[in-house]
Subunit: 238 residues, 2 copies
């Protein structure tokens, strides 16, 4: 069977650069701020419930997350939290937005290698401006044919991106850290998926059963293994 | 001179539907909330300064605006504002996000008429999810070939949109309520612009001198006049 892959899609957050560690750091500070009212596990639980309640309206991204943090803090303290403490939550939001982009080891070399043979597309979800800022900071834009920021990653949004880019689905391979957002919708459409797990997975992105027996599903430990994997699944004359 | 216009770009907020009136309403309530501390003009001035300071980081949209409102309220009250009052600011943010889309009179009929002869593109700036939600609520998506949400509207972003849509700039006409965002960049690129002012223009979008003597610039009072204008500038066999 021939695998005429022509186009490779890359997720960005926690696939090309660190992201979830910023939220992890924020959660620690946030739990500390509320520690005189509740223990960490209660704070985490109620914050997650607020985030899920607000997700449809606020979407993904740091600004919506920050509004959920403020709302939760007011709720969990019965309005006793001080304005100065709320300012600290906003300051930390600004800190997250301004944070430098920290690439994973080997990312630039992998993109450099692959971009000479394949068309590369960056496909990220979340806040448009935040994602554009990170792409600019990353210095990686040059390797991509173009970038797509979508409000959610599902079968419909991948189908739209591929149609607009005129890529047949069986020529498409997607790389990412989230089975739910990066891999399953692409496999469902008939494309190929390479999962590279990150150390932390946000509860909302967790999937119970990885599609380990799907013929177009692959799992790697590091992005550095990607060119080798693609060579092994693409025929030499592909 | 022939004007082979093939593609018409539409701004959305305050061009197809009301938007700035939601902010106007919010400003009133916000000034009232802070009225025991400062008069309205001080509140408006400091809020605008905070918005401008945060614009690069937060971008356009209701969530960033709400964070600026909270930050300004804490600053203007020296931290005396109560958590319960901050919750009211967030509640009003949610109210704005959930608000129904109110189309301008005649919009649907104009789009119906034009979509049979021209390719229509919706080009809006701001928060991706907010804009997608409004487009869905508006019921107008069917008239557009596709929609583009950009983080800012300038010469570079229009050039990118037109290149991806493969539209030659001299075949492109853009309609909108903001000279700064909808008209000037398109005229600068060599396209055509139709300005339809809205009752309120956000200070950040104001321009001192409309390009009234530019040959490709037109101004209308209502979107209902648009098909007539386009017929008058496109040759009968165009």
């Amino acid at each position: 069977m021939s695998w005429p892959i022509t186009t490779i899609g890359f997720d960005a957050d926690d696939t090309l650069w660190h992201n979830e560690n910023l939220f992890e750091d924020h959660h620690e500070k946030y739990c500390e701020l509320l520690s005189e009212y509740h223990d960490s596990s209660t704070v985490e639980k109620v914050l997650y419930e607020t985030e899920m309640k607000n997700l449809e309206l606020f979407g993904y991204g740091i600004k919506g997350f920050t509004l959920s943090c403020i709302e939760t803090a007011i709720h969990l303290t019965n309005g006793a939290i001080k304005a100065e403490e709320i300012r600290r939550i906003i300051d930390h939001c600004r800190h997250m937005l301004e944070h430098p982009v920290e690439l994973f080891e080997g990312v630039e070399s992998v993109l450099d290698t692959l971009s000479s043979k394949y068309r590369l597309i960056l496909i990220t979800k979340g806040d448009l401006r935040d994602q554009e800022r990170k792409i600019a900071k990353s210095g990686l834009a040059q390797y991509f044919d173009h970038t797509e920021v979508v409000s959610d990653k599902n079968v419909e949004s991948y189908a739209r991106v591929l149609e607009r880019s005129q890529v047949p689905i069986d020529q498409f391979l997607m790389i990412g850290n989230s089975l739910k957002s990066d891999i399953l919708p692409v496999l469902n459409l008939g494309g190929h998926g390479v999962h590279i797990p990150y150390r932390i997975t946000w509860a909302h992105e967790r999937v119970h059963s990885p599609p380990t027996d799907h013929k177009s599903f692959h799992e790697l430990e590091s992005i550095k293994q990607l060119p080798g994997l693609i060579e092994s699944i693409v025929p030499a004359n592909g």
